[in-house]
Symmetry: C2
Subunit: 138 residues, 2 copies
Amino acid sequence: MDDTLRDKPGYLLRRAASAATAELAGKLDHLGLRQVDASVLILIDSNPLSTASAIGRTLDIQRANMVPLLKRLEDAGWVERSPIDGKSQGLNLTPAGSAKLAEAMAVIESFEASLLARIPAEHRDHLLPALHALWNGG
Amino acid sequence: MDDTLRDKPGYLLRRAASAATAELAGKLDHLGLRQVDASVLILIDSNPLSTASAIGRTLDIQRANMVPLLKRLEDAGWVERSPIDGKSQGLNLTPAGSAKLAEAMAVIESFEASLLARIPAEHRDHLLPALHALWNGG
DNA sequence: CCGGATTGTTATAGGATATAACTATCAAAC
DNA sequence: GTTTGATAGTTATATCCTATAACAATCCGG
């Protein structure tokens, strides 16, 4: 089948992202994590005491959708909340959460490395700058 | 907020793709098209008389999900079916479908060009090969 | 102190995708 | 030529993800 879409950057971008997404999701699944869970754990870890709203803003997740997500992470014993003031609550990793994050990071780092390894050397270093331009240039 | 994810290729890939996807979806919306509709129209155009199954296989769309999709395109008067044999039916664009595709192509081409234009010149030519390696290297 | 913005939350709707099952048909081996 | 396995199209359904609207409580700047 003649796939004329194959060389359109937008289409290729979507397909490459969805292939990578599916692959990583499979690896994280073994840890009982979704990608979005891992992203949230990472952000909480590097930004202790930040709020659900702030995390959501960074990851483009609606406030409303953070609720079930955080509930899951809290129920799993990975995240805990501490009141900042009357309306905000700071998020933090529990020890179990830090341990789970460490596992996740190992998986993610090796995945990211394997992604880069697939790219021919002469193109490799150009990917990040190009993607960055695409993400922010819109 | 410290976003340590910002420089992970996998994450960047996903964010860049989703930004691009959202942008193109907005532009195609004015034509009454979703991206997947446009993709299907493009493939039918360059592969006349191909079957729903074959189109779906190329685009990674389940047979079952092709049904409502094609029904929409057919109801809109853009696609028609002609029996190939007792169980297969070939897809073709109607004149209205070709016209709609022409409109869509104008939007898409300009979008793709604008995507590339956002990438600094020294990185631009490396994106397609890199994405191609990512898509197929898995 | 007041008014507008923000936080967390509930409920709900929509879209996209995956799975299972079924019929009818084709194709190839025997 | 008949049986058997694969394929096409379809229906129905489940699930997940995301978007929207509304609400109460609270914060903050003027």
